[in-house]
Amino acid sequence: MRWRTATLTGVREETPSARTLVFDVPDWPGHLAGQHVDVRLTADDGYTAQRSYSLAAATAFELTVERVPDGEVSPYLTEVIEPGDRVEIRGPVGGWFVWRPENKSPVLLVGGGSGIVPLMAMIRARRQAGSRAPFRLLYSLRDPLRRYYADELRQPDPGLDVAYLYTRAAPEGWARPPGRILLDDLAEGGWPADFEPDCYVCGPTGFVEAAADLLLALGHAPGRIRTERFGPT
């Protein structure tokens, strides 16, 4: 798979610590919702660093990056890079954690923090394809300020249900007390196991482990639970 040059054309602030980067990539072959790319940064003395980032949009080349304090690559992508700057990318990568518009089964998306990114690509691909596959999104995040794609997720999208699970601070009057994802969250906000939904779970490792275990406990078949682990915390 060859490296291509990607030129930053636009930036959207998502939260105080995350932003969406829109790149122009000549001859991008297209991708499936859920796939990721490798990004390579090269310093002027030849030093390089590579990391993986999920594709956030259905067709455009967009990444949403969360700044990891003391990180090597994410602070560059969230604070330094400006329109006109270039990085190298290759991909798309991954043929398992993907949703295809031909698939009519109910879908449960469970995202923690920046784990929402590939799930958002699935929501956008569904909308773009005019798919009527019923989707539910359970989005676990620290507090309301950390919400990615806030305006877009507020727009009505028939057949998509969105539930927010706040872990530290919820908006005033929110019925669910802040906390980590629990069995009840998945039992109430997900699909019954006998609907045989395809479940996609993405986020930090601990979150994915916990949510996937709860889905198993609710009777979902292991083969229907697809996971993507982004890293620590």
Partner: protein, 199 residues
Amino acid sequence: MGIVSRGFRGRRREQDDRLPPGQYLVDDFPVLSAGPTPRVPLDRWEFAIDTEAEVTHRWSWPELMALAQTTPTVDLHCVTKWSKLDTSWQGVSLDTLFEDVETAAEYALVYSYGGYTTNLPLEDLLDGKAWIVHRYDGEELEPRHGGPARLLVPHLYLWKSAKWVRGIRLLDEDWPGFWETAGYHNYGDPWREQRYQGD
């Protein structure tokens, strides 16, 4: 040299000649797998080697524990870019498990509890290059890192070190496994940066 990204300096904490190209060092132990973590009770656990002549060699958990144990210290390289140096394990060398196995097969398909598979040439499993390990860093191997037992074949990217290992099927022809059919490299040598098909 690749295209320079303006203003990128890098942290360069990872200058180490034990680090393959494109990798960075971590101190923690990240987890990567395609689905939920299977839990395998020890009284139902077994490990098998199935030969191309359809002879099956099996080991129960107590039988595995009764074999000669070794304690390899190895570097791990994950295709998602992290590397972890000097990890210490305990387990049984595949040379020990293959002692009584008659085979002329060239390929191995490793399969796991939970349905995962990965393929590699049989020679990459022999001559002190691979182990079935069940302890990590002095402790029982946690399920999320592949416990009760996983394959450890550290000279290849870590997806070849199948977690929750259940057996090895010996084959005359190469049979691509889970990630190998999903676009990852068939062999996966980190030093040649064989991440994806065509690398």
